[in-house]
Symmetry: C3
Subunit: 117 residues, 3 copies
């Protein structure tokens, strides 16, 4: 079977009632269970990237999910810069791309599905 890819796009302030990282991790964990064989990538953009810092509330959960086979958690470098967050301080296992939108577009051009969470 051909492997399929799914992008889950989390963007925004990241405060309730907006979707935040905890909600995104829950959604991603459920999708992981429901879609065996699908490569899953959570792309985080905007101020909510602050929740990927190694000392943030959900850092352990983010690292645990990122450590699973076929799962990537990706932060936008532009957003990290705007939020004043050093890449070196991110939770273990979090990947970084230069720009979330360009990354997501390229992934879709290569066949990935896309859901905004």
């Amino acid at each position: 079977m051909e492997t399929s890819d799914l992008i889950l796009h989390l963007a925004g302030p990241g405060a309730q009632p907006f979707p935040d990282l905890a909600a995104a991790l829950r959604v991603a964990g459920n999708a992981r269970a429901e879609l065996p064989g699908v490569r899953l990538e959570v792309v985080v953009q905007g101020p909510v990237v602050a929740q990927l810092a190694g000392d943030a509330h959900n850092a352990a959960e983010a690292s645990a999910l990122a450590a699973e086979d076929g799962v990537t958690i990706t932060a936008c470098r532009n957003s990290l810069r705007s939020a004043g967050i050093d890449e070196a301080s991110l939770a273990a296992g979090v990947a970084v791309v230069p720009a979330a939108v360009a990354h997501i577009a390229r992934r879709q051009f290569n066949g990935a599905a896309y859901i905004r969470i």
Copy 2:
């Protein structure tokens, strides 16, 4: 002509100023008129699923739209459970899937277009 599929994804708290079910039904109704031959599915996720209950404000409009050829209105079972809503109490004609994200991903893998409303 090959039939095309369009997913309209409504997710969120469902209170103003967020998009709510009334807005989604308006958007779906317009898309229905503009895209003859396109199969349309409104997938509802998160607390806003409460607006699909049979006694909710827009239940009659939801049922009327779901009764049209080529239109499906789908609630996420995980969201219904979180909101404490019994599936049996949903507005007539509303379909249920186990998990919205997995469902939308599979539909896209089969060629559906996706718009977050």
Copy 3:
């Protein structure tokens, strides 16, 4: 190389903390730089279309971006009508489509990638 298309979908009230036109123009400008050869279209729907008026705060930036090769900024006519905005008063270079959702769906059926901003 085949040209690729990317839709950036801005919808909503358009007031902070929601994404507004300024944020969308920033995102689009970055994507323009990162994705040479990709045709970019920003589709604006909902009350935020008011920010495309010729006398609005970001009108000059919107016109400058729309004037670039391979970039289109598109307003939804249904949204303009709801907002009471005359098409003739839009910032120079802004295109209009009858309905944003139908337009975006058709673009995706023709292979465009989609990101909700």
